[in-house]
C-alpha cells in the first residue's frame, strides 16, 4: 500500500568499461614472448619440412644443441680470451682517449691542429689495418688488443672534445667568480658537464670494440669467440656457428644494459626522456 513508486535498481556497470584486465595491462610483457615463440615454432617447422639445405641454415633445436656443444667444449676459454682482449683494448682506448680528448677540447691550438686528422681517422674503416696489426703484434691477443684500442679510441676522443667544448661557459664563469681554482673548475664543472658525453663515448666504444675483437679473431687467430664462429662456419657446423652468433648478441645486450644502468646513476640530475 505505497503511494510512491519504487524505481528499478540501477544496472551494474558494464565490465568492458571498467579497468583493463591483466592481459591488457601486461601486454608489453607477454607480447614479445609470444612473438618470439611463434617465430621459433614456424622456423623449426619450416626447417623440418626441408625448406632449406641444412648446410646453409639451422633450425632452433640445432642451434640449441650447438650451444650445448659449445658450453661443453671451448666456449669458456674462448670467451675468456675475447673478454681479455676486449677489456684491455677498452682500457687503453679510455685511458688514452679521455685525457687526449679533454686536452684537445680545452686547448684551442691543439684542437685546430688535430681535429681534421681525428675526424678523418674516425670516418676511415680502420679495420683494414687488422692485417698490419697482426704483422706488428702477432697472432695472439696483442693484435686484437691493438685492434680494439684503435677502433674504440676515436669515438672516445671525439665525444670528449665535444663535451669539453660545449661546457656552458656561464657555469665556468660562475665557478671562477665564486673562487674555484683550476682544479676545482675541472672537478666541479668540466667533469660533471662531460659525463653524459663520456657515457655516449663508452657506448660507442663498446660497439666498435666488440666488432674489433670479433673481426680481429676472424681474420687471424687461434682462439676466441670470433675465431670459433669462423671455424664452425667453415666446417659447415651451422648449428654451432649460429649459436656462437646468438651468444654474441646476448653479450652485447647484457653489456649495453649495464651501461644504461651506470648512465642512470651517473647522470641522475639530467631530465630523463620520459619527463
Amino acid at each position: 500500500m505505497t503511494t510512491t513508486e519504487r524505481l528499478p535498481p540501477l544496472a551494474p556497470p558494464r565490465r568492458t568499461a571498467g579497468r583493463p584486465g591483466w592481459w591488457q595491462r601486461r601486454r608489453g610483457l607477454w607480447a614479445p614472448v609470444v612473438t618470439v615463440a611463434v617465430i621459433l615454432t614456424i622456423w623449426e617447422a619450416l626447417g623440418r619440412a626441408g625448406a632449406w639445405d641444412p648446410l646453409f641454415f639451422a633450425r632452433p633445436t640445432e642451434i640449441w644443441s650447438g650451444f650445448l656443444h659449445l658450453t661443453d667444449g671451448p666456449l669458456w676459454s674462448d670467451l675468456a680470451v675475447s673478454g681479455q682482449e676486449f677489456a684491455l683494448g677498452m682500457l687503453i682506448a679510455l685511458g688514452v682517449g679521455v685525457p687526449v680528448g679533454m686536452a684537445l677540447g680545452s686547448i684551442r691550438w691543439l684542437y685546430q691542429s688535430f681535429d681534421p686528422i681525428i675526424n678523418a681517422l674516425y670516418s676511415t674503416p680502420i679495420l683494414v689495418l687488422t692485417p698490419l696489426l697482426v704483422v706488428w703484434f702477432g697472432l695472439g691477443i696483442g693484435s686484437k688488443i691493438a685492434n680494439v684500442a684503435i677502433m674504440a679510441i676515436f669515438p672516445v676522443i671525439i665525444n670528449m672534445i665535444e663535451g669539453v667544448r660545449t661546457t656552458d661557459p656561464a657555469l665556468l664563469r660562475a665557478a671562477r667568480s665564486f673562487g674555484a681554482g683550476r682544479l676545482a673548475l675541472y672537478k666541479d664543472v668540466t667533469f660533471p658537464a662531460v659525463t653524459p658525453f663520456f657515457i655516449t663515448a663508452v657506448r660507442l666504444a663498446i660497439g666498435k670494440g666488440m666488432i674489433a675483437v670479433v673481426v680481429g679473431e676472424y681474420i687471424a687467430a687461434t682462439e676466441g669467440i670470433g675465431y670459433r664462429i669462423r671455424a664452425d662456419a667453415e666446417a659447415f657446423n651451422t648449428g654451432r656457428y649460429l649459436a656462437g652468433v646468438m651468444i654474441m648478441v646476448v653479450i652485447s645486450v647484457l653489456i649495453m644494459s649495464a651501461v644504461k644502468m651506470a648512465e642512470k646513476r651517473l647522470t641522475a640530475w639530467r631530465p630523463s626522456i620520459s619527463e
Partner: protein
C-alpha cells in the same frame, strides 16, 4: 690631517678594454663608496657585463686600473659575489649544494656540515628551504634566481655584483624578487653594483645611477638618487624628474646603437 681613510669600495681609473680591434670601454673612471647601491645602465652591448667582470677579477683592463677595496681584484680572493642573469646554477648539484658552492671555495676552513648549515640558513631567507634537495631544473625561473641570490648572499660578500638579475624573469616575478633583493641588501648592508637596462629598476633600488654611452663606452651621466619616502606627496614629481633626465640620455644612446646596427647589416 693624516687620518687613514678606508679606500672606496671600487675605484675605476681610466679603464680601457677591447675585444680584438673593437674598443668596448674607453677611458672610464668612477668611484663607488662603501655601502653605496650603484646601478649601471646603458644600451645593450655597451660593455656593462665586461666592466662587472673586471670588478670581479675575471677580466683585466687593457689599460687603467680597477681596484676593489684598494686592491686589484683576483678571482678566489676578496669578499665579492655575483648574481647572473642566466642564474648559472650547476644542473648536477642540488639546490643546497649550489648555494654552498661559494662557501666551498671561500670558506675551506668550514666543515661540510657547517657550510650546509649556512647554505640552509640563506635558503630559508629566500623561502626555498623545502626545495633544498631538488635539482635546479625542477624550479621555476624565479625560484632559480632565488637560489642564485642565496648563493651570493651566503658568502656574506662586502661587495655584491648583479648582472641583470631580473632580466630572464617575467614582470611579476621580477617585481617580487626586486623587493626581496632590497630587503636582503638592507638587512645585510653591502655595497652593490646592479647592471640593468631597466630605468625604473635602477631608480627603485639604487642610491646612484651611472649611465653608460653606446660603445666605445664612456660615462654619460652620474646621478645620485635621493627620493623622499614613497608616501610623500613629492615622490612622484621627483621620480619623474630623475626618470626624464636619465631617459633623455639613455634614448640617445639606444638610438646610436640601433643606427649602428642598421648600418652594420
Amino acid at each position: 690631517m693624516g687620518r687613514a681613510t678606508t679606500p672606496p669600495a671600487i675605484e675605476v681609473s681610466d679603464v680601457t678594454f677591447s675585444y680584438g680591434e673593437t674598443t668596448i670601454i674607453d677611458r672610464v673612471s668612477f668611484q663607488v663608496e662603501e655601502g653605496e647601491f650603484l646601478s649601471l645602465i646603458g644600451p645593450s652591448g655597451c660593455g656593462k657585463s665586461t666592466l662587472l667582470a673586471m670588478m670581479d677579477g675575471v677580466l683585466e683592463p687593457d689599460s687603467g686600473t680597477v681596484l676593489v677595496e684598494g686592491r686589484t681584484p683576483n678571482t678566489g680572493e676578496g669578499s665579492r659575489a655575483t648574481v647572473f642573469q642566466g642564474f648559472a646554477l650547476m644542473p648536477w648539484k642540488t639546490v643546497l649544494d649550489n648555494v654552498a658552492l661559494g662557501l666551498r671555495y671561500k670558506r675551506p676552513d668550514l666543515s661540510r656540515t657547517e657550510r650546509a648549515d649556512i647554505a640552509m640558513e640563506y635558503l630559508e631567507k629566500v623561502g626555498l628551504a623545502s626545495s633544498a634537495r631538488r635539482y635546479p631544473r625542477h624550479l621555476s625561473g624565479g625560484m632559480q634566481q632565488r637560489v642564485g641570490l642565496a648563493r651570493a648572499f651566503a658568502v656574506q660578500p662586502r661587495l655584491l655584483l648583479m648582472d641583470e638579475p631580473f632580466g630572464a624573469l617575467d614582470a611579476q616575478n621580477a617585481e617580487v624578487l626586486r623587493d626581496e633583493v632590497q630587503a636582503l641588501v638592507e638587512q645585510e648592508g653591502r655595497s652593490v653594483i646592479l647592471v640593468t637596462h631597466n630605468l625604473d629598476e635602477a631608480l627603485q633600488l639604487s642610491s646612484r645611477v651611472l649611465l653608460m654611452s653606446a660603445g666605445p663606452s664612456t660615462i654619460r651621466d652620474d646621478v645620485s638618487v635621493e627620493l623622499p619616502s614613497r608616501d610623500s606627496p613629492h615622490y612622484a614629481a621627483r621620480y619623474d624628474e630623475y626618470r626624464t633626465r636619465l631617459w633623455s640620455h639613455l634614448r640617445d644612446e639606444v638610438e646610436t646603437t640601433r643606427a649602428r646596427e642598421r648600418n652594420a647589416v
